[in-house]
Symmetry: C2
Subunit: 484 residues, 2 copies
């Protein structure tokens, strides 16, 4: 078998079939592969390295905002899930049930956690006694299982990885403040680290987390015009504290139920990075989270191993010392041209080429993945210039995505336009809505578009008008889209 | 409720009842708590922070030795586990089985992973085609479920966290080399980071991993004289590659089965840190992995908030700048004396006290947790001196543990002595063994001691003699102990 055959460079162009492009690029770039259990995936090293980078940056933000990590059990007794009725109803169809331990049948079924409010609530009831114990600010990195019927790698899988924050507070106001602080933290993380612009908003009753008082979310637009929910932050009110009996003695010696929040982002973010930035040549990773930020490719002509390779190795070591994630591709069995395509496909933000001519001129050629701009960089400027270019790439990728989002956000107030736009161009539709769930449901049935976000608009006049569908007086300014 | 009552300082002395001391200190220091499912625990923030530090240092070592992280599914079809007969037999009594997804019964039961050889072998068969694809060097950080009858926090729990490395190689020699390289890496990590000396050795058939060709392990002696297995490294030979069909075209175009290894350490290491270093006052964390390395306690007398507190805050910020994990305990409701005991109990390696007298003399008092040595440190020497002391503590803790291990390793060749020592002093018994599993079993039944390690002794004369039990010619120099 010829190694050149191992990576079929040809992938279905994104413009031809977005969905096929997505599943093909994920497999070819070895981000993920299908596991033998339906709907489960294996996250392969390049995909996992991306996740580790996302995780590390987010974990730092979560800790800096005062939260600590902990770990709660994977298996939750059925009776605990049943305590919050709405919560159980929301999750029951998706739960994987453990019924046997070893050779024995269990007395009570155990849920493989579909989320951890029930188990964490149980523990908080044990730990929280006084207002002095509050706030409790805990986060968990964990795997989650939800029995999904239709799956797609990273976007919707039977098992996925995530972080889930669970906090408890003295007052309603504090819980609401936490919920919104986390929403901002997520927005900042996704925009800064993943270079993906998002809109923030509240969810409607229909899209709300099962058991929450309010759900807030950040939503991004993928390059096929569909929306992807990137993270959610729930104000749980006292729903869970009442059923799990999380009570504390307040400052006036009265017993009160705690106010709670929960919030999470998942490996879905990997899918977002693929869909928000990729192109026909493959992946395009933002430098901040790219597993490899710089690929060094020696131009292998003549006696390159004696002449070019030592300089290429030197470039690699200079980049490493500059704190960058760099790789030298010195394999003999591939041509430089093949390597260029390969690493473009794998999304490396910057390629450094070095050949005999460059060595004479004491320089390298740097080529940006995002816009293919070339630049000669003198050897002695490498450790200063490369980080600058990477920063530029990060910013341009965000600008590019923001431009796309703006161009594909359609403000309109007429239902015929709504239908035409959703059908022809997709994107975000910014419009007015009456607030009636029945109306929302009708729009969904007719257009497959749902309300992604109720905008947190404070100016009264901006929400006044008529509902785009039923023409009754509007109560909310919202973003509609077809969504993943 | 008075906050002073929240932490009952009194714990059962270690010397009185080691087992009670262990479970009490774990709960009082908030390392873990019991979850509602039998045998499952919650790892609370201080325990999880310890794990994160252990994990971070070990992950670095694993990556530097050429391995990448990935993530494989939690649920494994029963038929995959059944492929390797010995493996299934070993794990079947401990498997938690998922039988329902949502409201539907599954066609095939799914095991909640008790270890991942089966699922990873399945994927490797898909990925490995040629010798050019080898070696495959993958590690996974994951949760594991094993249905244990008797459990104890961190040491043996129904769910635990671990890393499991899984590699595939061209030759038997390479696989053996990897197995031993990882064994050394584990020894280095545990001795350097956790300050716990270990012995390395091979496992007997009885103690071997189900499905392995050879199992190697590192074993440490806890302060109650019992042994704890700290990590294992398995040479899997071709056992799994044959049943999962992991074949590759070798350099001569022949099809060959790959040679595999697997290896892991778990949250059990947290239990080891508690048991190897703790004392009657509580935990004693090695500085390298301590969640908090330095606790700053202002002496709260008179107008301390105006006079002492600003200096204490300054000390905290100097320590932070020096890259240390520091905390200032400026709570008003506790006395300095109470805080001293509290943070000793929680294992913080170094306490810095600062009072009015110290401020006058421009110094602080540093008190070591390990030996309670006091030292005055001038303000301007803090950022240099404190890291030095922490390094000293790390080294002394290792020396102390090594001294204990040596004093409690008994070389003997008489079975009466064996029984007397095991009963009276426990510890490691270094002796000769015939190699007969029946003899090993008899010793276990009579003394509750098992062979923890077959020493990798190369000098022939050291293994020649008579078996300590049956008096037949010996084949191995081994370490016996009662073990967790």
């Amino acid at each position: 078998m010829n190694k050149n055959d191992r990576f079929v460079k040809k992938i279905t162009p994104k413009s031809v079939d977005f969905s096929r492009w997505y599943t093909e690029i994920i497999q070819k770039a070895e981000l993920a592969d299908y596991a033998p259990v339906k709907g489960m995936m294996v996250i392969r090293p390049p995909g996992y390295a991306l996740w580790e980078n996302i995780q590390q940056l987010l974990d730092k933000r979560i800790k800096e905002s005062g939260h600590s990590n902990a770990y709660f059990p994977l298996l939750i007794p059925e009776s605990y899930l049943q305590k919050e009725a709405e919560h159980l109803e929301g999750f029951a169809p998706e739960v994987a049930w453990v019924t046997h331990g070893g050779h024995e049948e269990l007395e009570e079924r155990l849920a493989v956690r579909p989320t951890s409010e029930a188990i964490i609530g149980t523990m908080y009831a044990k730990w929280i006694k006084s207002w002095r114990d509050l706030p409790v600010l805990i986060n968990q990195w964990a795997n989650i299982v939800r029995w999904e019927k239709v799956t797609r790698p990273f976007l919707r899988t039977t098992e996925f990885l995530w972080q889930e924050g669970h906090t408890a507070h003295e007052t309603k106001e504090e819980a609401e403040k936490e919920t919104l602080m986390i929403l901002s933290l997520y927005k900042e993380a996704v925009e800064t680290d993943l270079a993906i612009p998002v809109i923030e908003g509240k969810k409607t009753e229909r899209e709300k987390f099962a058991g929450a008082l309010e759900t807030y979310a950040i939503e991004a637009l993928m390059t096929d015009g569909k929306a992807l929910q990137m993270g959610t932050s729930h104000n749980l009110g006292q729903h869970f504290s009442k059923v799990f009996n999380i009570r504390f003695e307040d400052r006036n010696q009265n017993l009160q139920y705690a106010w709670q929040t929960s919030w999470g982002v998942s490996t879905r973010l990997i899918g977002a990075v693929v869909m928000a930035h990729g192109d026909d040549s493959g992946l395009k990773f933002p430098p901040k989270v790219a597993p490899i930020q710089v690929i060094v490719i020696p131009i292998s002509v003549g006696d390159w191993k004696e002449t070019v390779l030592p300089s290429a190795q030197n470039v690699e070591s200079v980049m490493k010392k500059a704190g960058l994630r760099v790789k030298l591709d010195d394999r003999e069995e591939f041509t430089p041209g093949w390597k260029f395509s390969e690493w473009e496909m794998r999304g490396v933000p910057l390629r450094i080429e070095i050949g005999p001519k460059d060595i004479k001129e004491k320089q390298v050629i740097a080529v940006r993945r995002d816009n293919r701009e070339k630049e000669a960089i003198p050897f002695n400027a490498l450790s200063q210039r490369v980080p600058e270019i990477l920063q530029k790439i990060q910013e341009s990728m965000f600008e590019e995505a923001l431009k796309f989002q703006r161009e594909n956000t359609h403000e309109l107030h007429n239902y015929e336009d709504f239908k035409a736009v959703i059908e022809a161009k997709k994107g975000f539709i910014k419009t007015l809505w009456c607030g009636d769930p029945a109306c929302e449901e009708e729009i969904k049935e007719e257009t497959m578009a749902t309300i992604r976000a109720v905008l947190m608009e404070k100016e009264e006049e901006k929400i006044q008008g008529k509902c785009v569908h039923c023409q009754k007086p509007s109560k909310f300014l919202v973003i509609f889209a077809r969504a993943y």
